[in-house]
């Protein structure tokens, strides 16, 4: 596969990741995850005007990569949470499967391109019957009046309804940060102290975890909790330091997250 390094435009995160990994395929044992991660993060930084949806996907993959990378830095397995380990394997296998599928279609699309290029070099005959046969053709315009024609163009020019695509099933949980703040204010005031991992246990969708993380930062900023993290990549401890009675008064103003 030839990938043009200098001019490639990466349309998606798989695109980029595949490119970065396979570029160094010359000697696969030399492929270094840290190089990949660094290059990946550099590319993401370059993408100034990335739209939010795409950026999210990029960031999710970047975070998976960073997690994989950090895991390799750990000396041994003794202190590794098994759940965490499984989750990471799952994450990695999912990423691998998606990369392979993406590559499959990328390669087969090259065949499509060749077929289309070949087909484009032949032009179809579409001339139709000559005038000798014209009296045989049924009169298609029978019954068409100027008024019907007028109606037809009004219909053609009328604004088309934007195709409505229901996003309901895209992200079943559409929790906003401010909603998460309210929810967490309640539970944190009750619990007094908890790790972030435990707090988000049961929330499988990454988006949910991210939203809660942002909410925690917001609550921290407002001075209701203290945060501490003893080890790198260790658990984040959250301790409630707000008023006892605040649990229900969950309505302080929340900064908008613009990005």
């Amino acid at each position: 596969m030839s990938y043009d390094v200098s001019t490639a435009v990466f349309e998606g995160p798989f695109d980029l990741l595949l490119h970065l990994i396979l570029r160094e395929q010359v000697d696969i044992h030399e492929v270094s995850l840290s190089t990949i991660v660094d290059a990946y993060l550099t590319e993401i930084e370059k993408m100034q005007d990335l739209d939010l949806d795409i950026a999210t996907e990029f960031l999710l993959i970047a975070s998976t990569l960073v997690e994989l990378k950090s895991r390799r830095l750990l000396p041994g397995k003794e202190n590794i949470d098994l759940d965490e380990e499984f989750a990471l394997w799952e994450e990695r296998d999912l990423l691998l499967a998606r990369l392979l599928e993406c590559k499959t279609f990328k390669d087969v699309s090259l065949v499509f391109q060749q077929l289309a290029e070949l087909a484009d070099r032949a032009f179809p005959r579409t001339t139709g019957p000559d005038e000798r046969f014209s009296e045989l053709l049924p009169d298609l315009m029978e019954g068409v009046t100027p008024l019907k024609l007028h109606k037809a163009i009004l219909k053609a020019l009328a604004p088309k309804p934007e195709p409505h695509i229901d996003l309901f099933h895209v992200a079943p949980v559409r929790l906003s940060v401010s909603e998460a703040v309210s929810e967490l204010m309640d539970s944190l005031a009750d619990m007094k102290a908890i790790t972030f991992r435990n707090l988000t246990r049961g929330h499988e969708a990454r988006l949910e975890v991210v939203v809660r993380f942002l909410a925690i930062l917001e609550i921290y900023k407002q001075g209701f909790i203290e945060l501490s993290q003893d080890d790198r990549f260790g658990d984040i401890e959250i301790r409630w330091i707000g008023d006892e009675g605040f649990a229900t008064a969950n309505s302080f103003s929340i900064d908008d997250y613009e990005g």
Partner: protein
């Protein structure tokens, strides 16, 4: 043009298998008869060579007993079905044609009528789908015809309605169609239509060759 000066020997040297094939290819895809002058221009040979090639091809097809022929009609050269298979062709024509304009076809026809001359792409951007097949049908019935080419890159074929179209509607001119004036189309449509159209006049010498000439 200097082709009168050429004798037959010189003529023969112009005719290459490549140009003959090219001529067959072009005539195969042409929608209207192709003027000899246009072919001469494309191949950079005298018109007499084109005439010679057409005659040769015509003879070759006839001798091989093909079901098609190459003929010269008003306006130029074209392929058509051979008269000996007319009975079959008639059955096919009667069989294969739908009897009414679909709503999509009617919309396309309306767009051509009101916005002519208009390119296929412009119609597509108004209707939202490629009108290619519909245009072929409308053209094969003689309701629309080619009207020169867009000046822009690609020089898209422009379409307009025919005299037959007016006759079918029972009007004398397009001016008799109900006016569109008060209707304000939405922005995307306006943009699509504004993204138009400096038509090269057909009589403009030296302009892009046009099949209708």
């Amino acid at each position: 043009m200097s082709d009168e000066l050429l004798n037959m020997n010189d003529d023969a040297s112009f005719i290459t298998p490549e140009i003959i094939r090219a001529m067959e290819g072009i005539l195969m895809v042409a929608i209207e008869p192709v003027p000899g002058e246009l072919l001469a221009q494309l191949f950079e040979v005298p018109v007499s060579i084109v005439e010679e090639m057409a005659a040769q091809l015509s003879a070759v097809y006839e001798e091989a007993g093909h079901g098609f022929q190459l003929v010269q009609v008003a306006g130029g050269y074209r392929f058509q079905s051979h008269p000996v298979v007319s009975a079959y062709v008639e059955r096919f024509v009667l069989d294969g044609q739908r009897a009414r304009l679909s709503a999509a076809a009617l919309e396309t026809l309306a767009i051509v009528a009101y916005k002519q001359p208009i390119s296929r792409l412009q119609i597509a951007s108004v209707r939202g789908v490629d009108p290619d097949a519909v245009l072929r049908t409308l053209h094969s019935r003689g309701y629309v015809e080619q009207r020169g080419h867009d000046d822009g890159p690609g020089q898209a074929v422009l379409w307009g309605t025919t005299q037959l179209f007016l006759e079918k509607l029972g009007i004398n001119s397009l001016g008799e169609l109900p006016p569109l004036a008060e209707f304000v189309p939405d922005a995307s449509v306006v943009e699509a239509l504004e993204n138009t159209l400096r038509i090269s006049p057909l009589d403009d010498a030296g302009s892009a060759p046009d099949q209708n000439l």
